[in-house]
Symmetry: D2
């Protein structure tokens, strides 16, 4: 992850793209890429979606879109000074408290 | 990242949530969390957004939303068998070819 | 639709919110509301989603989120000077040409 | 709006696409189209975004993407039996109560 962050930063700096990489713009770019990712799944049945990675064309597109989402998420985190993995682990601990195993088992109810 | 993936997987398995964690559902959850993240920025001026992490309340919310996005992205990648960092680095190499430094410098034109 | 557009505009002007209602901000707000809408569906099975409007709580939330999406879409269209219905009908005619009935019947393949 | 709803419905039925037009799938398609719309704005400065409709190419793309968003929103509403305009007007009345003019004037604070 650190290497990815560094390489995305270098990619942007070499192209003088820091001017475009404001938090608002990067949040928009992230939403745009997630839109492209979700579009890969929209007309698939649940069964087709489960095996999408074994379809060469669709699988490649899904992987590429996930790569794009990861790139913009890493770039936004870098610009904001957020440690993504730490943020995710902290959030996971919060969720563990909010959804105790014995109450949450098998239930999709939000708390 | 590997630790995060393992912990998110354990979190889901302990709660018997694999049944909900289909690729379509996780892509939807990812889009929902990105929506919450973008909502943190929508009414901020570019100047306010640039310093959002120094505002205790807004900064905490942004970090938590980024954590949620990372969690669902890691979970989707795990379910699909995609190596997120590798997918991002591959995509970055593609982009480096599509946007050569000398042509792309300072330009936001899409190719 | 015209009445909605007028009422959303009056709502914004009475609160001096035109300063926040820039195209970028409204596009972000639209994405945020669509994120809330999609979150209502993410953990539902296809069968549960098909009857969501007959569940009082979930049905109310879905209707309210669709109202929010419509509000921001109408507001963005108003700020940009786009006639939404005309834009949709024009796009539908384009799609009719791109997806001729005899070729597209029963197929989700994108063109 | 009623005419749009009817024409989108006819478009889907002629192509036997009702099978794809489940609430979950349509919510995903809506999110995908909003992603394309937001992508049109992501690298624009606020000043460029304010005049995007006077740029022939970008303006056409924005209008087309807004048309797509409207189409899927109308289709989702039709499938769910939601009256979009009524849902939006109801939500606007709720917001008027939540954001009284004298308290909300000039403020982007969420309630």
């Amino acid at each position: 992850m650190d290497e990815l962050t560094s390489r995305v930063r270098a990619f942007a700096e070499e192209r003088d793209w820091q001017q475009f990489h404001t938090p608002k713009n990067l949040a928009m770019a992230l939403a745009g890429e997630v839109g492209e990712l979700i579009a890969e799944f929209q007309w698939l049945t649940p069964e087709q979606a489960a095996v999408v990675m074994s379809e060469p064309d669709a699988g490649s597109r899904v992987k590429a879109e996930m790569g794009d989402v990861m790139i913009y998420l890493a770039r936004l985190a870098d610009v904001l000074g957020v440690d993504l993995i730490e943020a995710a682990l902290t959030k996971l601990e919060d969720s563990a408290r909010r959804y105790p195993v014995d109450q949450a088992r098998g239930s999709a109810v939000k708390r």
